[in-house]
Every structure is written in structure tokens, then in C-alpha cells.
């Protein structure tokens, strides 16, 4: 049973890490962004499913740090380093940040997808992690699955061909 592949699922506003042969996935990303950070030669990868861009938006006194791009990414990096990944070898792949409804609204929350993407990019830049590939924006939901053994991110959209980035 040693070689059996397990798929670890990450929920909304959550994160986790895996080692090959296991894979990691998250389903139904809309305006949310799925961030995969991995160390290819150590066969270890982490995935965060963030809902909102910045933790300063919170009105809660205790909030879930996995919900925001700026707080989730540092936690994910720490977990990977604790799991044996090397900081200099970390790379990132992104998917999500769609606009699900074509709402013409002055409300800031309505373009949350692009704000999420910007916040994720800014945070990765601050942590000096290069973005190798991304499939972001548009107006379709995505399910993503990362295989740390190959470094490939599988992206599935409704009624479209599966792509690997």
C-alpha cells in the first residue's frame, strides 16, 4: 500500500502540503485564487485556496489567516520549509481569479478576482518566489490539481479541455 497515490483536498480559505506520490487539489475556484508553491527536486508542494486579498479588510478580531492572500502565503511557505523544502528552490503556479458574473457595479468587491490576483503576485514577489505559470482571470470556474512528482498543474474548466500548466 506504500505507493498508493492519495489526493489531498484543500477547502475554501484553507491550505495544506503534500509529497509525491500524493497530489493536492482544490475545487470550484471562482474569484478565489489557488496558489501552488513547490520545490521540484524535493517532490514537495503546498496549495492555498484564498478568498480575499488583504487581511486588513477583516472586521473580525480573530480571523482565519488562510482566508487572505497576504497572510496565507507566508504560512504556506513556512510549512513547506518545515517539511524540508529549500527557500531558494521554491516556485509558484497560480490559477483562479475569475469574474463569475458580469456585474457592472462600482462596488470594489465585484472585481475581487483581479484584486486577488494582484495581491497574490505582490505577496509572492515580496517573498522572492518566481511565478512559473498561471491561468488566471476570465469568467470560468476552475478545479486544479498539482502533482509534485511532475511539477504540473492540471486545470479543469466546465465544458473546456483540461490544460496542464
Amino acid at each position: 500500500m506504500k505507493n498508493e497515490t492519495k489526493i489531498v483536498k484543500v477547502g475554501i480559505a484553507d491550505l495544506n502540503i503534500v509529497r509525491s506520490p500524493d497530489m493536492i487539489r482544490t475545487s470550484g475556484l471562482g474569484s478565489c485564487v489557488g496558489i501552488v508553491i513547490y520545490d521540484a527536486s524535493k517532490n514537495i508542494a503546498g496549495l492555498a485556496h484564498i478568498l480575499l486579498p488583504e487581511s486588513r479588510l477583516t472586521k473580525q478580531s480573530h480571523f482565519n489567516k488562510h482566508k487572505y492572500a497576504d497572510t496565507a502565503i507566508p504560512i504556506l511557505i513556512d510549512k513547506l520549509l518545515a517539511g524540508g523544502a529549500r527557500k531558494f528552490a521554491l516556485k509558484a503556479k497560480l490559477a483562479g481569479g475569475a469574474q463569475m458574473f458580469q456585474i457592472a457595479s462600482p462596488l470594489e468587491t465585484m472585481r475581487i478576482g483581479s484584486r486577488n490576483i494582484e495581491a497574490v503576485k505582490a505577496q509572492l514577489n515580496e517573498s522572492r518566489i518566481p511565478i512559473i505559470a498561471s491561468d488566471v482571470g476570465g469568467n470560468a470556474g476552475r478545479t486544479i490539481e498539482f502533482n509534485p512528482a511532475t511539477g504540473q498543474l492540471k486545470v479543469r474548466k466546465v465544458n473546456q479541455d483540461i490544460i496542464y500548466i
Binding site: G11, G28, K67, I103
Partner: protein, 210 residues
């Protein structure tokens, strides 16, 4: 206000709100498609974000959903959700276009898509006007926005405001269905923002309990 601390009386009131709204919506749906519509007993669920997707069959379930944003005194989000086959069956019934499918070449079926939107508009309009009469709170719904995609992607839109104040959402879920000939089942999800609940309980004379 914390969702988790609602009293039984407050939960009952929310169920009644769902009841009144969906009763009216079932009537107007029934007129529209000329079928008897039944309504299930509403449920009020306080769920975390992952549990919310499970109510509809999981985050990857493909659904046809119309979103209405309610502004004004009662900020909230309303979804009218139909499973794919049922949305297609309804459109075929209304337009007479027999081979209509939602996912294939949606651009060529503008009339069918607008029929679906208009149906959502009428049915949700009845839901909201009943709600407004019952609570005496003025509701200003947006125009309907239609999306056909994964439940997870669609439903998080309604969570954006809520998620800044809470890790839970309160969902007043009512479904209307028809068992005659072909099964049709639609869900209404009413997701009030936390401050709207306070307003609602005040309007109905049930003061919010500390």
C-alpha cells in the same frame, strides 16, 4: 451579530421568511410553466464555506444560477439555482426550442438564455416582494446575473461581503418542485449579511438577544 448565537425563535422567524417568499415564488412559477408546484419546508442553515457548497452537491457540481444583489435596508444575496437538465427542460418548455443545451454554443441561443433570465427574474421577484410585504422592509434587487458553472465558483460571490465579518454564512434554503411529468426542482438561497439580520429581527419585533 454572530450567526451561531441565534435563538430558536429567531430561527423560526427565518424559516417563516423562507416560507412566505417561496410560497409566492412557487405560485408564479406554476403560472409560468402551467404545472402544479410544491414547496418544501424551508431550512435555515448556518454553515461554513465548504459545507455551503455541499448543500448543492459539492463545489464542482455544474449549476445554472441567477444571482440578485439586494441593496438598501436589507443588504443580502439571493440565488435561484437550477440543476442543468432542469434549467434546460424549463427553457425548452418556454421557448419550444427542443434541442437547447446550456453548455453548447451558448451564443447562438440568445433567446433561450433571455427566457431563462426572465423566468428567474419573475420567480425571484415574487419571492422578494412577498418577503418585502411580510417584513415591511424595502428590498431593491439588482438585475439578474446568470452564470452556468461550478457551484463553488458561483456561490463564493455571495460570500465576499459576509466573509469579511464571519467564517460562517446563514442560508435560508427553500426549494420548489414539480413532480408532474418531469421533475423540476429549484432552490432559493437567501444569504443576508449579518447587519441585515439585526434589521430583520427588529422589523418583526423580535429584538436581537445578546
Amino acid at each position: 451579530m454572530e450567526y451561531l448565537h441565534l435563538s430558536n425563535l429567531q430561527l423560526d422567524v427565518l424559516r417563516e421568511v423562507g416560507n412566505v417568499g417561496a410560497g409566492n415564488a412557487a405560485t408564479s412559477m406554476s403560472k409560468l410553466i402551467n404545472r402544479k408546484m410544491d414547496m418544501q419546508v424551508p431550512s435555515v442553515k448556518i454553515v461554513n464555506f465548504d459545507e455551503m457548497m455541499e448543500l448543492i452537491g459539492g463545489p464542482e457540481e455544474v449549476i445554472a444560477a441567477m444571482l440578485f444583489q439586494i441593496k438598501g435596508e436589507f443588504p443580502s444575496t439571493v440565488y435561484f439555482i437550477l440543476p442543468m437538465e432542469e434549467a434546460e427542460a424549463l427553457v425548452q418548455k418556454m421557448t419550444g426550442v427542443e434541442n437547447f443545451t446550456l453548455l453548447n454554443d451558448p451564443g447562438s441561443d440568445d433567446i433561450c438564455i433571455s427566457a431563462l433570465q426572465e423566468m428567474g427574474n419573475i420567480v425571484t421577484g415574487s419571492y422578494l416582494s412577498a418577503l418585502s410585504d411580510f417584513t415591511n422592509i424595502h428590498m431593491q434587487p439588482s438585475v439578474p446575473y446568470l452564470s452556468i458553472d461550478m457551484a463553488g465558483a458561483i456561490l463564493t460571490v455571495g460570500l465576499l461581503e459576509i466573509s469579511q465579518v464571519s467564517d460562517y454564512a446563514i442560508i435560508i434554503d427553500t426549494s420548489i418542485s414539480s413532480d408532474s411529468l418531469e421533475k423540476i426542482q429549484g432552490h432559493f438561497f437567501l444569504m443576508p449579511e449579518p447587519k441585515s439580520l439585526v434589521k430583520l429581527f427588529k422589523a418583526l419585533g423580535i429584538d436581537h438577544e445578546e
